[in-house]
């Protein structure tokens, strides 16, 4: 009889620990350097950002952030001098470049669009995913395997392959450049991932919990709500992060289908470059702010994320 154990029975040797550690540290460095570079650039002045050789040590400035959130017009020094004292840090910074703030930029609305579309589609995908995963897990669904494969197969094709049909469909349906259209699209892409991930998690929850609740006087929906859902939170959280990361980072469809009111941050940020020279600090500032929500979300749910990644690899 062979014993199957999930964990390695032999403790890893010092050498293998060293090798593994080196690889992990090297990989972490390679991954983190671009992020650090962007973070540093966001605090540089435009001249510092294009200085050669690149400046590692520099005088930090909020100019990038000021430029990100505002639109500016160039004025003569006389006009600027004729104005009253600067009303804030940004005003002061901008005036040094012979410019005045004309108004807010589009970054905030685009960022809010990203939040609405990413969280909205994540909610829809996880909601639909949880219900259908529960159905597939607990009921005899006719052709369940084929249906599950069909759901999975929607994920096999690169979504951009259907960009043109979707573009045409959306134009006909009036969904182009609407938050609803983007939420529907990202939900459709994410729901397959959600169903498959959540089915795995729900399969792991013994049916006895719902059966006990149903015998004790609850309906199936109540039993699901009170016994299955609380135990599936780990899986739901992990699934939500994966869905959110996809929807948050998605660029191609956003660039294709949104241009104005519903434009998300990813297609917007590159457009900052064009406004008044190559404003790398503003682009870097936009990217840095763009990273914050996903960073916060991931740190808050890191345990569930780890569980989601290692799901199936470790037996309880």
């Amino acid at each position: 009889m062979s014993l199957t154990t999930a964990h390695s029975v032999v403790a890893p040797s010092a050498t293998s620990k060293l090798v593994a550690g080196t690889i992990i540290v090297a990989y972490a460095l390679i991954s983190i350097v671009p992020l650090l570079w962007i973070f540093a650039t966001s605090f540089k002045t435009p001249p510092d950002s294009i200085a050669y050789p690149p400046k590692i040590v520099f005088q930090p400035s909020l100019e990038g952030y000021c430029n990100l959130f505002s639109t500016r017009t160039r004025q003569t020094p006389e006009y600027i001098n004729s104005l009253g004292p600067a009303t804030g840090l940004c005003d002061e910074t901008v005036r040094k470049r012979n410019m005045v703030i004309a108004g807010p930029s589009n970054f905030m609305p685009r960022f809010v669009n990203s939040l609405i579309i990413a969280f909205g589609s994540t909610f829809c995908a996880v909601f639909l995913g949880t219900l259908s995963a529960y159905g597939f897990s607990r009921f005899k669904v006719p052709l369940a395997d084929d249906l599950l494969f069909f759901i999975l197969s929607t994920r096999m094709m690169p979504p951009i392959a259907v960009a043109i049909p979707i573009y045409l469909m959306y134009r006909e349906l009036g969904l182009s450049d609407t938050a609803l259209g983007m939420i529907l699209l990202y939900t459709a892409v994410n729901v397959s991932l959600a169903v498959w991930l959540l089915k795995g998690f729900i399969d792991e929850i013994p049916r006895e919990y719902e059966e006990a609740a149903m015998i004790d006087g609850y309906t199936r929906l109540q039993a699901f709500w009170r016994t299955v859902l609380p135990q599936a939170t780990t899986g739901i959280a992990a699934t939500a992060i994966f869905c959110l990361i996809f929807a948050w980072n998605e660029y191609a469809f956003a660039a294709l289908l949104t241009s104005g009111t519903a434009q998300t941050a990813p297609p917007f940020i590159p457009t900052i470059i064009g406004e008044g020279g190559q404003d790398w600090p503003a682009v870097a500032a936009g990217t840095t702010i763009f990273l914050v929500p996903i960073l916060v979300f991931t740190i808050l749910l890191r345990k569930q994320l780890l569980r989601g990644i290692t799901f199936g690899a470790v037996r309880k």
């Binding site: 013994p206 059966e211 015998i215």
Partner: protein, 370 residues
């Protein structure tokens, strides 16, 4: 509390018949055990009584009401699962109170009922603990608490002691029976463990391949097995079988096994010539050099007060339970004397027991009790 009546119950999963034509009545307040090997249909029967599976055919009546097609929550029963199914996200108090919450009972009353129940099960000190930190026996008590708190019509238990350590299991067998004696709840208990069944049950149904092989008191099942399967399944070691040929006629009192004449309880029916088997429990065999039924000692198993001696006969190994003092060596030739009054006779083909005088005693005893 209520009586459970099962009529012609049948369940098929596709081509596989899990339960076929089950009929039994669990009387009000009775502790009924369904016993059988895994896959025999006992759990499926239990789940049909609970309403977790719908039968393919037949009827289930609870307290005279036909509940065959009712939902689980409309049946007013409680179920204790093998894995207890305690909700990990609730503490002990909330777990026990969960069924009452479904009825919309006011909080103060739930509190009182939960505390009464916890006291009954001696777990009142654990009420505010998380269920995940509990020991096996305490988890079992919480699961029982959740079942009895609602005072349902009957309790259904699916191998509730299956996952416990031996130590806890013996304790819980005792506690369960004691609890039953106090609250007299109609109970259906499923197990594959004959010791649990024998020590707790008022009535046992032995099941195999979806069929109830025998329904009766532990004593009836042990002393007068209705089929060779029951004889073989119950007892440790199980009943020995010695083959013999020829028919039997009404009134016969003797058969010939391996050339030796063996007295048997008076046969009450005529049996056409066929392959037959004589069944004898290990403890009903003595060593007697005068006996013509002979064999050689194959091995012994010392158990303290008794020993199990395996004897190789012309018809295979026979196990006898004899006092531990008897000294025997492998290869010793011994004669086997069988306690005639305790023999069973079976038709090998069908496995059915032949009616003999031991069955009249049973009906007499039943008549006296009735």
């Amino acid at each position: 509390m209520a009586e459970i009546r099962v009529e012609h119950l049948r369940k098929a999963f596709g081509d596989f018949v899990a339960v076929q034509d089950s009929n039994f009545v669990v009387e009000d307040g009775e502790f009924f055990v369904m016993l059988g090997p895994s896959g025999c249909g006992k759990t499926t029967t239990l789940r049909m009584i609970a309403g977790l599976e719908l039968p393919t055919g037949g009827k289930i009546l609870l307290g005279g009401e036909d509940v065959t097609m009712r939902r689980a929550r409309e049946r007013d029963i409680a179920f204790v699962f093998q894995l207890f199914a305690l909700y990990p996200h609730m503490n002990v108090r909330k777990n026990i109170g969960f069924p009452l919450l479904a009825q919309g009972m006011p909080g103060a009353e739930i509190r009182q009922r939960v505390e009464e129940t916890a006291k009954l099960l001696r777990i009142d000190h654990l009420l505010n603990k998380s269920v995940s930190g509990l020991a096996g026996g305490d988890r079992q008590r919480v699961a029982l608490g959740r079942a009895i708190v609602r005072r349902p019509k009957c309790f259904l238990m699916d191998e509730p002691l299956g996952t416990l350590d031996t130590e806890f299991r013996d304790l819980m067998v005792h506690e369960l029976r004691e609890l039953h004696n106090r609250i007299h709840a109609t109970t259906v208990y499923v197990t594959h463990d004959q010791m649990e069944a024998m020590s707790m049950a008022d009535k046992i149904a032995v099941m195999n391949h979806g069929v109830i092989e025998q329904f009766g008191s532990p004593r009836e099942i042990y002393d007068r097995p209705a089929t060779m399967f029951v004889a073989d399944f119950i007892g440790s070691p199980p009943m020995n079988f010695l083959g013999f040929g020829g028919g039997l006629s009404k009134g016969a009192r003797e058969i010939v096994v391996q050339g030796a004449k063996v007295a048997v309880p008076e046969v009450r029916e005529d049996i056409a010539p066929a392959d037959m088997a004589l069944g004898i429990r290990p403890e009903h065999i003595r060593f007697d050099d005068a006996s013509k039924l002979r064999g050689a000692v194959y091995g012994t198993e010392y158990l303290g007060t008794t020993q199990i001696v395996a004897v190789e006969t012309a018809d295979g190994i026979i196990k006898a339970r004899v006092p531990a003092e008897i000294r025997l060596n492998a290869g010793d030739h011994v004669g086997l004397a069988l306690s005639s009054a305790r023999l069973s006779l079976f038709e090998k083909g069908s496995g059915r027991a032949v009616r003999t005088a031991i069955h009249d005693e049973a009906s007499q005893a039943r008549a006296q009790h009735g």
